[in-house]
């Protein structure tokens, strides 16, 4: 029992305590964790480098808008078309982005035809009329007789309307007609009317003249 007090034994025990335990080998899971942490560290460093580069790119592509010009345009729209609804209350203090958003909102409203089935209905009707004319006058490899297709489509618009509306909602943001397209459509319709008046049914030419005469209502027709 007292042998533990022997100075030689005491010195040996002190040496044993001071000596480091043999290094433990890392397990497979610990190795994988190390790899993941290293990969994460690398990703973070890459992200940091990108962020440092981004401000330069933004500066290059930022478009400079003249706020006063945008506001003038917006007020001109509102003055000419007082029925336009507002989305933002914009003033000289507003950001260019807000004014641009309001301008876009005005243009979308002007490009949406509310009556007779809207733009979707108008496009569908126009397409059907186009198919009818092409198969009749230009190209009809299947020998289809599609006379009256445009008229039947117009009459059945109630059945087409839900589908057309659904499609308009699905692609809604990009499907409004710009003023250039609307003007082109109107010019096209006028050209077609004059063409049919000059080359087709002479009644169209007569009707074009007569429709703008001043009507003289016969006596006793007020109840009709």
């Amino acid at each position: 029992m007292l042998s533990e007090l022997d100075p030689a034994n005491i010195a040996r025990m002190i040496d044993e305590k001071k000596a480091k335990p043999p290094p433990r080998q890392p397990t497979e899971a610990e190795k994988k964790k190390e790899e993941r942490l290293a990969a994460k560290e690398e990703r973070l460093q890459k992200g940091q480098r990108k962020k440092e580069e981004t401000p330069y790119v933004e500066e290059v592509y930022t478009e400079v808008h003249d706020k006063s010009k945008l506001l003038d345009k917006l007020y001109a729209y509102r003055k000419r078309f007082p029925h336009l609804e507002k989305r933002n209350n914009v003033s000289a203090k507003s950001d260019a982005e807000e004014i641009l958003d309001e301008l876009h909102h005005c243009e979308v409203q002007l490009g949406q035809k509310k009556d007779s089935g809207g733009i979707g209905g108008m496009l569908l009707h126009g397409t059907m009329i186009g198919i009818e004319h092409i198969t009749r006058d230009v190209w009809n490899p299947l020998g289809l007789n599609l006379n009256g297709l445009g008229q039947i489509t117009k009459d059945s618009m109630g059945e087409f309307q839900p589908l057309v509306d659904e499609m308009m909602i699905k692609y809604g943001t990009g499907m409004y007609l710009s003023v250039e397209v609307r003007l082109a459509l109107m010019v096209g319709a006028t050209v077609m009317t004059v063409h049919s008046a000059n080359s087709g049914d002479p009644r169209v030419a007569q009707a074009l003249k007569k429709m703008n005469n001043v009507a003289q209502a016969p006596a006793g027709s007020s109840d009709l």
Partner: protein
Amino acid sequence: MGETVGSFLKTKLVNMGKWIAQHSMGEFDDLPSVLDKLTEIEVTILAEHLAENKSIIIHEDWQALLQRVSDLPNVPSLVPPAIQYVRSEQSLHEKFWRYMQLFASVVNSNAQ
């Protein structure tokens, strides 16, 4: 300046649609809106056809009227059944032919 022929004819045609819809108890409720979609020039052409075939109106010839209307392009498909309905209702005949007479006479009027 008064109302134009095109506008006047369209107003009266839509009125006729409303009158038929009112009497048909729901069968032709869509008729006014269908007629309202016609352009003024389409309505004027329709009236032109009536003016050219005044004998149909004078003799109140339903068969010829239906034939004529069915042959015309741009006439809504709801119109021939509406005429058939009016034909089947004796009490509506007098006013219907007054409408036809009105269209035929106004299309050739010019108050200027």
